[in-house]
Symmetry: C2
């Protein structure tokens, strides 16, 4: 069949959902629409309800449906594409962002009875108050020698599925009892669209301890966490998961009407934003590391075999594309550090200069920073403003800046911060390579590659690797979802039979390449050795001052 | 004789000179006058002459005479004091600030022939380009086991007398040959006033290797520095020095006319600003450490005996007051760090808040910082923005900030910087005490104690010691000079027979006392242990990253 149709991809982000309509033949974007979530990130008080405690972050699942209803028709209209030309639809989500629902999929928080109960709502990926549960899971898992501890690089995160579910049981047993299913929003949205609860292997593997061919840890393990947790899999989760790119089902009559799409339009199994971006930037083989660079950075790498890599977020067979091992690493703050500096570290004089030059503050800083040679500032930073997500996997680590002198200027600090995040990436690359997972080159997408060639060149110089950028750096997850929609449709229906085929036709990179400057790379290699010495000293127990400062801070906050 | 007269003190600072007229009976200030130096600090180009290289800082000796001519009559007038009621006059100076002069005292730079030669001018204390000479002096001195190396805590500074004179010989031998005397401005001004070249023991001992009872190092030592330096003492310096408080002579007819004072008015031997401040804040016994707190801080302590204290600026018998050992330590940047932060680290939003509240930026930062408990920021800093002057004595060390996170705010950084300077002071106190020189309490003067009660309370809490502040914190050197003028006059002339007597009557402290808060002190002691661990790791060779960053910076600056 000719590939003359369109596929829809929907990327459910932290603040909004993005719908794109792309041409199946070549991935060309025909139209798109961004829909803000009406309730956004709920981290202060429930809509019309009680205040939340610190470290809570919830969402309203009705907002996701709102994206479908508003966004799909509008994107189709912008694209000038008729519904019968849409061959498939795919979705991706932040993760782990689970919610408690009834047997029919109704979210508890949408029932009047549970509307004012915080635990009835979606726990967004950055809901961080399940740390006691996460700690207990890691401890019990380590004691018992459970596989997942090693797979997750030694530590189960407070952001992940079972930390959040165990928190529900600990803090709101009535919600735990009332829910029939506890489910990733990624899977819940597919259930809404198709009427079928078909969960994906990606979130199950990266966030919920599920291992291909072996399933979940034993009932004994879950029982050791809490007596009433013993049957959690049978009671709330289930044992069946579906691979990425599979067809979950056809669009239901109800949602066909709401989205104006054809009933029965193939819908793919749910996916995760970072993972779905990998084929969307053409990467379907080992060697090229994908960097999704925004407020934080995710690093995705494919491998032929299973390797144990220090402090990764996860190592999953078929976790990104079929037949290959998917490795995920990350830096928990990148753009966030720069945003912090723009807001809290940039003096009024520089703001005035920005006005005079009619530039934004970041542009003025970059102007100054780009005139400096590597090492010329005399500054070096550790990029741990939001802890360390990969290699050290330690949320209690904090940022460090050394080399300050009376002559230090804001643009020098800014450059040092950019360099520090590049050193963090190089540390991850070297950790992959130490585990015999070669990283030959880099492919970038996200907001930073779109915005800052200056930053991309520093990354090339620091890592000594060529960097290519996605042709549309901001829409990679949505494109990836559309590609999975096309795969769900399959070749016979005008789509593709595999994500590999889809990637070859639909994914594109820009022609320009950031190539490392040899001299700069040599200086950065000297500086990186200094970074590593500080990284190990402060991160591996040489001096736990960062943790002790945090303890003192917590004590003083309490008193 | 009744003490119903007045004494004049003149403090020659970095940017201006201050003249005070004080009542001899009780030190009460009757009038004063500040005179800016017309040429200020000459660090870019000579007046009407060539550009200077980096790290140069010169002054024009004519500016000092301008202070006398303009300031003394005006201060007398403000005070409503007739010249015949002035019983004595004392002066103090920055140090080491030497200049080359002819046999009659004429500065070479005031001769047309040498006017465009930078080496003919006063080398101000912060002239830093004689570092190669300083390094050579330390090396040769260490090899030969010269006493001065130990007395100066292991290193001879680029700021000091012989570094500067050797630089003249190396770089401008014609100036070296042309000058008959190379003399501290502190002594040159006394020579101008009295017609007598009588040099003081204080600068000789703290800056020029002179040791009471033993004199200078041998001709061999100076010859080892440079063949033509062998006779430097005989040719340019001389062997005779006079103790502080001695009468250098009577005011000459010429300067009596210019200043409107009585001819023959007793003039005391020259002194140094930091040293002369000690009796001016009532301290004439061991135990109370004096802090002169401004852009940098000097710490002055008296001791009964000679002790070897790690990394002090100097240990001198009679160096501050007679019969006691004077110890000097320092922090090379204190107010300068805050000024750096006010200028380069304070965001526009805070500046707007300052305007709204009609406050200065420092006041807004203090408002925020004063609401924090010790340790609540989670931040810790090393206060080495301008190197470390005491204990480590290492100009290549740089500032460090740890504990940074996305939630860090400017007022938290400001508090951490203030705390870091207080930790630096505690490190000096503990170093004194480790050498069996007890520090029982603190006495402060200078700009910071006048301006910031917030900062003073933090110093009390960090050090665990009571702090008293001079009654007039800004004018202590000038008052100290006036006290020495009264001592030069002597009891028979309506003055005092010793600086001890003068201090008892003329020096005063404010009644209020900063007392350490016990809880805060306990937290700060925890934090200080962390400061010390970082201090030793980065300052004693555990990790020389600061020096390596500087080397890379220098390389990159050159290329």
């Amino acid at each position: 069949m000719k590939r003359d149709g369109f596929a829809i991809g929907i990327d459910f982000g932290t603040e909004s959902g993005r719908v794109v309509v792309v041409r199946v033949r070549d991935g060309q974007e025909a139209g798109s629409c961004i829909v803000q979530y009406p309730d956004g990130v709920i981290d202060e008080r429930l809509p019309g309800g009680p205040r939340l405690e610190a470290d809570w972050a919830l969402q309203n699942p009705a907002d996701y449906l709102h994206v479908l209803e508003m966004g799909v028709p509008k994107a189709l209209k912008t694209a000038g594409v008729k519904p019968d030309r849409v061959i498939g639809l795919g979705t991706d989500f932040t993760a782990s962002s689970p919610l408690p629902v009834l047997r029919d999929g109704t979210p508890l928080c949408l029932l009047r009875r549970y509307h004012t109960k915080p635990h009835a709502w979606v726990k967004l990926w950055k809901h961080h108050s399940a740390q006691p549960e996460a700690t207990r899971i890691t401890e019990i898992g380590s004691e018992r020698g459970e596989d997942f501890v090693e797979i997750y690089g030694g530590r189960y995160s407070s952001e992940w599925f079972f930390s959040k579910l165990l928190q529900v049981l600990n803090e709101a047993p009535e919600i735990y009892d009332a829910c029939d299913r506890f489910i990733e929003a990624a899977d819940w949205i597919v259930w809404q669209l198709t009427g079928e609860e078909k969960r994906n292997t990606c979130t199950a593997s990266y966030k919920a301890m599920w291992v291909k061919g072996r399933g979940f840890p034993s009932r004994d393990f879950f029982g050791a966490l809490h007596p009433r947790f013993e049957n959690v899999i049978a009671d709330k989760v289930g044992q069946t998961f579906y691979p990425l790119g599979w067809r979950a089902g056809g669009l239901s009559a109800k949602w066909a009407k709401k989205t104006r799409l054809r009933e029965g339009t193939p819908v793919s199994i749910g996916n995760v934003d970072a993972h779905v971006s990998v084929p969307a930037v053409t990467v379907i083989r080992p060697g090229s590391m994908v960097m999704i660079m925004g407020t934080s950075t995710c690093h995705m790498l494919l491998g032929e075999d299973r390797r144990m890599v220090e402090g990764m977020c996860g190592t999953v067979e078929d976790g990104i594309v079929p037949k290959l091992w998917g490795y995920e690493a990350g830096q928990s703050a990148v753009g966030d550090i720069f945003a912090w500096f723009f807001e809290h570290g940039v003096p009024a004089a520089l703001e005035r200069e920005a006005r005079r030059l009619k530039l934004q503050i970041p542009a003025v800083l970059e102007r100054g920073a780009s005139r400096l040679a590597p090492g010329e500032s005399g500054l070096l930073a550790l990029d741990w403003w939001n802890g360390n997500r990969s290699v050290l996997v330690d949320a209690d680590l904090t940022g460090l800046l050394v080399g300050l002198r009376l002559s230090t200027r804001p643009e020098e600090i800014y450059r040092a911060l950019v360099e520090a995040t590049a050193f963090g990436t190089r540390q991850i690359i070297e950790t992959f390579e130490a585990a015999e997972l070669p990283v030959t080159d880099l492919v970038a997408c996200g907001g930073l590659p779109e915005r800052s060639p200056f930053l991309m060149q520093i990354y090339a110089d620091v890592t000594g690797r060529e960097i290519r950028v996605a042709s549309q750096p901001l829409t990679c997850p949505a494109l990836g979802s559309a590609m999975h929609g096309a795969v769900a449709a399959g070749g016979v229906a005008g789509g593709y039979d595999s994500i590999f085929e889809a990637a070859q036709e639909m994914a594109h990179l820009r022609k320009s390449v950031y190539r490392p400057n040899r001299d700069n790379h040599a200086v950065y290699t000297e500086l990186f050795r200094e970074y590593q010495a500080l990284h190990d000293y402060f991160g591996r127990g040489g001096n736990n001052v960062m943790k002790r400062l945090k303890e003192i801070k917590m004590q003083q906050n309490r008193s």
